[in-house]
């Protein structure tokens, strides 16, 4: 193309115009694909929000794509919130302590497995990896027996303990990967300067890993917050239900009868997560891609 331009400068202009028209036309199928994608991914959520503002009467008599008659009808939300508030609190009580413990001991283990020098490091890392592969169903029954025998069944402890343990393999594995990129000399130097290994860990490794720890915390938060299997198994009582189990039973309770509150409850659940995601989306995407081994 550059050759023709040099040889004959005159036809350059119309040729370029023809090319640009063609390339604009050629892009139309692509933009149609993008438009369809956006509709398929965004419209269900819009429909969900619109639904949460409708009355039961509108649900049964108006077409499903109709806009709500009263845009400020928040009564569905007050009904949904009554039960959801308690479930949210349970989720917070179960998820955040597990996250904190798991990150602390997982980071320490990652540090020990990558920075420290001892025999059998790689075998131990492999042992942790096994935990990522194993389906949850494989550990539920013995744990249920133990929690039952220890009398923990009517508390949130089973969730906190199980969440800490199930999040641990991926945390250790990801932390080990991050530590692999840090030269061991840093820690050797600080140890020679007189810091104990533990001091090096707490005052050098932890601050250095702030970003990595935050990313893993985000990833694990989504896994734990959205968990259904473990919560379903260990919450035998309504007062212990997490937000996911509660939402499932919400429809069980009102079922087909009450659309508005159900839509509002789904909305509350969705928008808590969506708000977090919209603020931190790049980080969440990168983190989840890095933690893909979880499958």
């Amino acid at each position: 193309m550059t050759n023709t331009a040099i040889a004959s400068p005159r036809p350059l202009k119309p040729a370029r115009r023809r090319r640009s028209v063609r390339s604009v036309l050629g892009k139309i199928p692509g933009w149609i694909v993008v438009a369809v994608l956006l509709i398929v991914f965004v419209y269900p959520l819009v429909w969900l929000v619109l639904g949460s503002l409708k009355t039961q009467d509108e649900f049964l008599n108006n077409p499903t794509w109709a806009l709500p008659e009263n845009w400020f009808n928040f009564s569905n939300y007050s009904i949904a919130w009554e039960s959801t508030a308690h479930y949210l609190l349970n989720s917070v009580i179960a998820v955040f302590p597990s996250l904190a413990i798991c990150l602390l001991i997982g980071t320490a283990a990652g540090f020990a497995l990558e920075i420290m020098v001892f025999k059998g490091r790689n075998t131990l890392l492999l042992v942790f990896l096994v935990g990522i592969m194993i389906p949850g169903q494989m550990i539920l029954l013995p744990l249920f027996s133990v929690y039952f025998n220890l009398g923990l069944s009517s508390t949130l402890w089973p969730l906190i303990i199980t969440y800490t343990a199930t999040a641990l393999p991926l945390t250790v594995f990801m932390m080990a990967t991050y530590f692999r990129n840090i030269p061991r000399e840093i820690f050797e130097a600080s140890t020679i300067d007189g810091a104990s290994t533990l001091k090096s860990f707490f005052f050098i490794a932890l601050p250095m890993m702030r970003n990595a720890i935050f990313t893993i915390a985000l990833v694990q938060f989504f896994f734990l917050w959205n968990d259904l299997l473990i919560a379903l198994t260990f919450t035998t009582d309504d007062s212990l239900r997490t937000v996911q189990v509660g939402l499932l039973n919400f429809t069980g309770q009102f079922g087909v009868v009450d659309y508005g509150p159900t839509f509002a409850a789904i909305c509350i659940n969705v928008f808590i997560i969506l708000a977090l995601y919209l603020v931190l989306n790049q980080r969440v995407m990168r983190g989840l891609a890095a933690g893909a081994v979880k499958g």
């Binding site: 398929v40 001991i105 942790f128 592969m133 494989m138 303990i161 343990a165 969506l274 893909a292």
Partner: protein
Amino acid sequence: MKSVLSDKRAIGVLLGPALLVYTLVMLLPMLWSLGYTFFTGSVLGGFDFAGFANFARFWNDPNSGPAVLFTIKYALLVTVGQIVFGYLLALLYTFFLKRASNVVRTLVFFPVVLPTVAVSLLFQKMFEFAPQTGLVNSFLNGLGMESVDWLGNPGTAFVVIAIMDIWRAMGFYGVLLYTGVIDIPDDVMEAARLDGAGTFSLIRRIVIPLSWPVIIAAGIFSINGTLKVFDSIYALTGGGPGTSTTPLTLYMYRTAFAGGDYGYGSTIALMLTIMCLLVTVAIFRSTARNSKEFS
């Protein structure tokens, strides 16, 4: 110098807690579950030694065959769907949207972080047949077609599950595969273009072969997740209508908790674990052969 980073006490303090939690809450229960496979009964009713009876029962059980078959059918279809659509997204990001892909990537990714229960309930309402005509049936009616009782028939219920789980995860695989596609060196692409390759032959002969390792890795992650599917099916169809959409995970859950048979439940969980291992090993071996062909 080695001695400063191989302080046994420090290793114990750093690695000990994680190893202890992991062993107590994951490794031991795993072995314990293996033990359960030789017994019948539950923690409430007591256990009886059964030898290999549970395995014989699994072989002859009229429900286990369909559950295995459904698990395989679901895992194959959804994994292929997730990878194919994810790859198409990755190509769209790389060759069409280029630098502008950020917004689309962020939007298509958001179902990944949404709670599975919320998404399942949303899809339940979208594909609803009665009393409210859901979004999808309204659309079909608008095109002059009859409403379909999506979740009332085994075949269409399976379609809804597959659509939902592909919708949920394709943004994730889009991002994962996108990192593989943009890693292809620009000069390789440039050289192929100068040799006269059009976009399609470029994709077929250069892009796909060079990003093949990432595709396989994504496939392994995906099938490991789809074989263990629980949350989405439990919340969307509950395994129904009848038991037509019951995967092994759900069958195990029902057997152990509703049926009160821990021994047989553990046997089903073990079968599932073996399936996960076999599939992963099989894919690894086949890729070892493939990558030799490509190089």
